[in-house]
Symmetry: C4
Subunit: 350 residues, 4 copies
């Protein structure tokens, strides 16, 4: 799995509209692009002459041991990319030894993941619906099925404008089920992505973090979609157990700040009171290392895992995770650091 040509290789396996659905961002895709270039334009200042004979990428997230700080970001409808859908992704996560954050918009029921891949470290991503009963039920299901956290997405109060999808008239393919999002008594007719997303709650506030936690029986709440330190502090005040610095892969509002550039502010806002993760534009081990140096506990990877699925299902997704962790280990060795939890801040040039 050559990460340098990963996206191109996946593109060759997908129809254009599906490829565009994954690759695209909001508006002119300025933020989607800058998410990548922001990490690349940061410079490392490696330490030499440190003993790096025993580099390990192992760490913990929310107290849970993982083999590397590379987590699987929640992304929709893996059934678009391989026959086994999220089951393949779950098995890849087990193989690599990391967390799968399952999307509300997954094409596989959260219970099926839990029963078929019981060893997977699993978190459940949540879009709160206007009809709170649906979301409350989902949280209860997740708790019952052994999910270890709720990843509460807070950057999606309204529909975004994704030009590629509009031009391609992209929608949920006929026959695709979204069993975590659509009521079990759905009549089986085709699903409309925009209606579904349009049903998300636009009135969510910091106070609702406690509400969601209650729905989930006290599971930790990971708040995803924060780009400011002041907001992050309020999340922690309101009971968040972790923050994901994210702009939804540049897919919600174009020209928002790149996650690499927002990370430092959020880390300062949180001030050590909870873990901070980051997603968006992570493509190499050096990118991961920079995120760790700037204060992230771990990163989430979305598109790259999907490209792996599209190329070779479980094996492809696994290879992406393994390669990225190996690239991180290499970058750590070159920088004289041996653990994700001991990365000096000044490894990244100001």
């Amino acid at each position: 799995m050559d990460l340098g040509i990963l996206e191109a290789a996946a593109r060759a396996c997908l129809d254009d509209a599906t490829y565009d659905y994954v690759a695209g961002g909001a508006g002119d895709e300025i933020t989607a692009t800058e998410n990548v270039t922001a990490w690349r334009s940061m410079r490392l200042r490696p330490h030499v002459l440190h003993d790096v004979s025993a580099v390990s990428t192992a760490t913990t997230v929310l107290g849970c041991p993982v083999s590397s700080p590379v987590l699987v970001a929640p992304t929709a409808m893996h059934g678009l990319f391989c026959p086994d859908g999220e089951l393949a992704t779950a098995r890849a996560a087990v193989g690599h030894g990391t967390v799968l954050a399952l999307s509300t918009v997954a094409s596989t029921a959260l219970e099926e993941i839990a029963s078929a891949v019981p060893d997977v470290l699993r978190w459940m991503q949540l879009y709160v619906q206007k009809d709170h009963r649906i979301s409350q039920a989902l949280c209860a299901r997740a708790q019952a099925a052994g999910y270890g956290a709720i990843v509460l997405t807070v950057d999606s109060p309204v529909l975004s404008k994704r030009v590629r999808n509009e031009r391609n008239a992209f929608n949920v393919p006929p026959g695709m089920r979204l069993p975590n999002l659509v009521p079990l008594d759905h009549d089986g007719s085709d699903l409309d992505l925009y209606s579904l997303v349009g049903a998300y709650e636009p009135a969510l506030t910091f106070d609702d973090i406690a509400m969601v936690r209650e729905w989930a029986g006290g599971l930790p709440i990971v708040v995803k979609g924060v780009l400011r330190g002041d907001d992050a502090a309020r999340c922690v005040d309101a009971g968040a157990s972790a923050i994901v610095v994210s702009n939804h892969g540049g897919r919600q509002l174009d020209t928002v700040v790149a996650t690499a550039h927002a990370l430092t502010d959020v880390v300062a806002g949180v001030d050590g009171r909870c873990e901070v993760y980051v997603d968006g534009g992570i493509r190499t081990g050096a990118d991961v290392l920079k995120a760790l140096a700037l204060g992230a506990r771990a990163v989430l990877v979305g598109r790259s895992v999907v490209w792996g699925l599209a190329i070779d299902g479980e094996a492809g997704a696994r290879a992406v995770l393994d390669e990225l962790a190996a690239d991180l280990a290499r970058a750590m060795a070159f920088c004289g650091v041996t653990s994700p939890t001991a990365i000096p801040r000044d490894l990244v040039a100001l």
Copy 2:
């Protein structure tokens, strides 16, 4: 109406010289281009977990309620773009619920707008002529016809150098009338744009703001074309009721500062004593939001409205205004703000 391809779609409806007349700027068009890129290169820092179930773009300008802070900038000769000319634009402004700033160089008489579209919120743009009597008469006509303000353009003391127009030998088309600019007793011969523009007063000073206000019977004077805080302060001292930060769409002097970059200085110079608007390069809702965050009360949109007219007359112009306001509402929701009058400054990264 896909704003992302608006200009291209309009270009397909226009002859090259007319397209160039609208699209072009002065000199090498460095400022015309930077007007656009300056907004794009500013980064938003969105707030999350604010209740955005009730976003409204409604606001007021000079105390007059409008449905959005997107006003129609004065631009010349709408008869070039659709048969109904400025009547179509006026109806689009009514439909959207905003202000039309009618150009002195309009192809429709100001009185015809007022009588045919009486509901339009209308301001009259003014170039002061060397022969002050012409301008004085125009102000009196505007006041009599229910115009609510005079938009005094102050960035046009001499003819600019527009390379595209020179190469295309662009001029007022035969038969085109400019009934606000040319005396009613004009002999009907073809009009020469350069002679008309060359008749503008080059000796205008801050003191003349009061003169124009007197001509207009005390109507508010909106001074358009200011790029510096010190000048803006002097305008307010001299009686201006509002300032438009503008470089005339990059059409007067190339390499002047982009309006996005001048806005903060002007807002500081005005120091809350009057409203500040801005035009130039506004293409998306995020652009509008950034202008508001930096202290603008509203924006004016010129070229985009013209492109709408060229594509589909009144309906096209209306669609442009509606889409831009909808895009603003979306950007506001993504940023956790619900009113144009309550946008925190730090929504835009320094």
Copy 3:
């Protein structure tokens, strides 16, 4: 004369090696290019509502009235570009009302200029030769022929590396005479540019400014090729009457600072004790205006005048000067200034 396509138009009139000789710079031409882009990337902050009914570009240099602050830079061998050579340039300078700085490497004798175009405001450019007697004689000739100043070039102690010339094997064409540089008793054989340039004095120091002034019977010495404030101060201490901020059009050492970027430091170093001029990359009136705002008394234009000569001899050179001054007048009016001697510093954004 469309300045926007001036170089392209001239190129069509010249053989490639001659075009390259003029257009090219040292090394990778980074400085030659940046000379142009540096002016373009500076932003103007125009003043409005100043009376600009009487803009004049007239000023003085070394006390001598000129119609505009656009002087003719010394450039070599005008005989390459039109049959009349520097006679055409001198007539263009008279026509425009400015100073001609005649090159030591001119293809016309300084006395011939003086006798054929007696009205021309003329300065004599000097490369000091290793054999000082040659230079001393040239200064005496210049003084005798009514030249008003010596422009002492100080940036040429050794041969530069000009890649285009090397690849083109460019040299002085057979039959071309250089009557100010080559002894009158030269045997008529072909001249070698590199031998001639290689004979320049590499041991010139600040003390030699006084020596040259003595050679020239007390004529003012304009020191050309200074890029630092400390050097400029030493020049003034040593008797210089003016400084030209110049990097020889980017033709001596690549990656030296662009003149637009060096100007402020030199102006500060001189601290008002003498006039400062600047050359390099000046292509538009806005460029000239920026130079004046930053403290230059005037600018020198080299390549553009040569392109004018190549296109249409005297008339072409004259048109270039006239167009540039007209463009300056237009830029001044748009910025609310009426005289080259009263340009506020803050017209250029920091």
Copy 4:
């Protein structure tokens, strides 16, 4: 030898995989590219009117006189580029009058260099092997053979990821010997570059500088691969006699800081306690001059020397060194400096 087309000329002499092996860097080659552009984007502020009739590039390194501050960097397997391999390089170094740093991965035995080219100023580059006895023996051999210093490479604890080599399946060509790296009792089978590099010691620390010095009988240790001032200071504390600011030509970890940007920090960290050299991206005399101005005693040149070897063996390598020194002398003259040891810091713009 036209340095401006050096790489292109060499490419024409090499098969693609060999060319890529030399030209390529790690990852996306961002650092490899920036090594070059960083020097180019620094601006020189030349002094004028200094006597430059006697410019000399001569200097000393570790007390040893050299004709210029351009040293030959250690690079692998010169047998790939010309039949005589490092013998040609050594002769070129003698011809130019500079130091050859012989690579551990040379295709010529260090003793053969010493006996065949006894006049060459020679340093021995060292990768410490996991099996320290190999490295200890190599140091003893180097000392016995008259090498004047050990260049201890400290930036290679693990294998780097070089995309070009992977795609080309590049390896040591059959028949190529690496007599300084591979035990003398090697069975003659083909060598595997990755196994060899994988045997480097990953546990090297600052304390090992003293160990290596002991192995080498007290020879000075030049620590190569430092990019930080704090690390450099620790090297000096640990007994280093000089530091080479290097990122291994951008070949180890992509997106590490360019050497031009790291130099100032290292010079400050060393604080005059030992000499500092720099390599990476040096292509012109101006690049060398900038390095000297920023505090480097000398530069090392790797790829350019290899290109010279590929084009014309010893003569080619010699021409590269001579041209670069001549270009340095020219740049010095244009900047008013006459010795590599007296370059003012402010010759480079901040």
